[in-house]
């Protein structure tokens, strides 16, 4: 280990975003279903949301002036890492309940881990973000764990 991760960077572990509460509409489900070329009527009609619809509901909406030059919104949960080139990451999702029009959902994101590993061509930094999506009854609807790798 080369000890890339300073105390300051590691101190961000456990940081949590402000909860975001959004409403699910039939029109948004239909748009998402069309855009993914879904072929099932229940999704195209917007009766129920297809899996992964929560990506649409909770993608960051920020002013244009806060986008980086490549058009990406900067994730405020993350510290400035000593490595910046993003490599393929992974997603681990659990679907607890279906999502329907009229549902109010709240997402909370937590930076759950930062660690480094020796890769074949140098050190790699891994970080994990847990997003929990809950209904107004506080029951879990979707759990999403994202792992990203920087080199």
């Amino acid at each position: 280990m080369s000890g890339l991760l300073s105390e300051d960077v590691l101190s961000h572990i456990g940081k949590q975003s402000e909860p975001r509460r959004e409403i699910v509409t039939r029109r948004d489900i239909r748009k998402y279903a069309v855009a993914t070329n879904n072929r099932q009527a229940k999704y195209l009609d917007g009766d129920v949301a297809p899996p992964l619809f929560h990506l649409h509901l909770f993608w960051d909406v920020v002013p244009l002036s806060e986008l980086s030059p490549d058009g990406v919104s900067i994730d405020s949960l993350l510290p400035k890492f000593p490595l910046e080139k993003a490599m393929a990451g992974g997603l681990d999702l659990t679907y607890h309940k279906p999502i329907k029009p009229g549902d109010w959902l709240t997402a909370t994101r937590t930076l759950t881990n930062i660690y480094e590993k020796a890769g074949r061509s140098g050190p790699l930094i891994f970080y994990e973000v847990l997003m929990e999506v809950r209904g107004d009854d506080d029951e879990l609807v979707v759990t999403e764990k994202t792992t990203r790798i920087l080199r």
Binding site: Y32, W59, G90, L91
Partner: protein
């Protein structure tokens, strides 16, 4: 869904051709302004990609769809683990599919290894999906 799943069985595959219009609508639907998906000079000259990059989560969506179409109303996806390993580019035709790796008749829980592959047979997006079949009542 017609036959009961058996370990080793392949589910019907699906081809996906993502053109500029679908790419635009998908990223607009997410609210994703990342230039590599729609700005050709930026994608090729600045980032060095051979073309416009298909959004990673769209390939994740296709993993879900190929299983969800197979399940129909007979079951529901309960979880997925996947990663985007290799990029796909607008104008390519890719194929999604999967194989049943476990099935528990008592609980209705089925596990499938799934993939999105390109025309060179490279697996772009490997994953594992779990689903629960509604048991006949």
């Amino acid at each position: 869904m017609s036959p009961a799943p058996t370990v080793g069985m392949a589910i019907p595959q699906r081809q996906h051709y993502c053109d500029e219009v679908q790419q635009m609508l998908y990223n607009a639907s997410l609210w994703n302004g990342h230039r590599i998906h729609f700005d050709m000079p930026y994608a090729t000259e600045v980032e060095g990609y051979p073309g416009l990059v298909v959004a990673g989560p769209l390939m994740g969506d296709w993993l879900h769809q190929v299983v969800d179409e197979w399940l129909g109303d007979a079951g529901m996806i309960t979880g997925i683990e996947y990663s985007n390993r290799i990029a796909a580019y607008v104008g390519e035709t890719v194929t999604s599919g999967g194989t049943v790796t476990a099935y528990d008749e008592a609980t209705g829980e089925v596990t499938l290894e799934v993939f999105v592959k390109n025309e060179r047979d490279e697996v772009l997006t490997p994953g594992v999906i779990t689903a629960t079949l509604t048991l006949a009542s």
